[in-house]
Amino acid sequence: MQQVEIEAKKTPLYDRHVALNAKLIEFAGFKMPIMYSSINEEHLLVRRSAGIFDLSHMGEFVISGSDAESFLQRVTVNDVSALDVWQVQYSCMCYEHGGIVDDILVYRLPDKYMLVVNAACLDKDLEWLGSHLQGDGHLENKSDDYGLIAVQGPNAQRLVAKLTDYDLDSIAFYHAAQVKIDGHELLISRTGYTGEDGFEMYISPDLSPVIWDKVMNAGGEFETGPVGLGARDSLRLEMKYMLYGNDIDQTTNPVAAGLGWIIKLDKGDFIGRDAIVRMKEEKPPSRLVAFEMLERSIPRKGYEIYIGETRVGAVTSGCFSPSLRKGIGLGYVKRGSTKVGTELAVLIRGKMIPGVIVKPPFYKHGSHR
């Protein structure tokens, strides 16, 4: 029998991962490194010093034209008009019913906007955005034109500073700049998904391996190393950052997910606004909570959450927290049972393992500014 397989895409840094002996998995259609040596060690390296990530699978769209701003105001929940040039904004796109299309970063650049979207959502986002374009608004998928390398950790700036004369202090948190790195003009931003200070660098595919090698070799007196998607997941979870497909998706809405802070109702109409207003008034039937385990066990996606004998929800993300040395998780829990300090239990392989709802983030010593 003939098997037809769609071959996973390779990022511009694929050969580097193979040379580093990374464990590769298929993620969102890409062959990505899940770990190089140890998820725990890579996680702690980022918390302690600096880690280097290949995030080239992420999608980049460019929105241009005189109606670009009004278009983005309609398709995202945050207020794009509040952005200065070179500022970056976390936001999400919602359907009319309030469910989430994707969570995104919006970059305001001098003559256009750039959206950074989840790789797994790329095709869907492109189609959805395309269907709402109007007037003089142009949408281009530039994902194949950009590799993306992130440097994250308390030493991230010291590391990047070795490759540039640019005054990195002048780039504030959630701001970007065009910076000459190793002689090449790159878009970089002080952003990340770890809770630590750090930069994300958008680089052409040809140049990506060159910059990767420079960053990898720039450590010197402080520890650095490559970090895979495994540690990226536990780092983001320790901060209660959402992962689309786990904690948020088309069936959840930003109010229940605790993303109320990015919804700007005052900016005028946008897609999903009516549903979100209704959700805020009626209060969502369940909310995303952060909890930690009181016994040695790891909650994992899909496990059921109980309070007493009553099933109140399910785990959407869970892991062993390398920083806290215990199991931590997120899950939607029924209204009335979501207060910090509420004791719950997670059904783990037939046993009720006790846990408690805690105030996020789990990890409170991040170096992000």
Binding site: I39, N40, G230, R300, C319, R349
Partner: protein
């Protein structure tokens, strides 16, 4: 990957080291490499009787959780309680400090169903 001679190996990636009528059991270097960072190991109490093929505990790694299947039958005479405080021993030293349980073998004849190092290496494609 390390697969020492002199041990017996199961298709479930456990090893047995036989000394007299005692069999020491752990997981192979290949298995720990596949699992990644081990964070919890749940083991039975001493005195418990275990049958061949039965689950005698669980091993929880960062990425996934796996059952531990006993390659032989017997009574648990000792467990490696160092693994409670330092589960990473399974990753660092799967054949020595990372051992899991010692069984008093009920039927040494069962050992002949297990693989030698060479056959195990072949099975995992080394």
């Amino acid at each position: 990957m390390d697969t020492p001679d002199g041990l017996k190996y199961s298709k479930d990636h456990e090893w047995v080291r036989v000394e007299g009528d005692i069999g020491t059991i752990g997981i192979t270097d290949f298995a720990q490499g596949e699992l990644g960072d081990v964070v919890y190991v749940e083991l039975p109490e001493a005195g418990k009787t275990i049958s061949k093929g039965e689950s005698f505990g669980t091993i929880e790694a960062v990425k996934a959780v796996s059952e531990l299947y006993s390659p032989v039958s017997g009574e648990v005479v000792e467990i490696n309680d160092k693994l409670e405080g330092d589960p990473a021993l399974v990753n660092q030293s799967p054949y020595d400090d990372g051992w899991m349980v010692k069984l008093k073998l009920a039927d040494p004849g069962e050992l002949s169903d297990l693989m030698e190092a060479a056959a195990y290496k072949e099975m995992v494609g080394e």
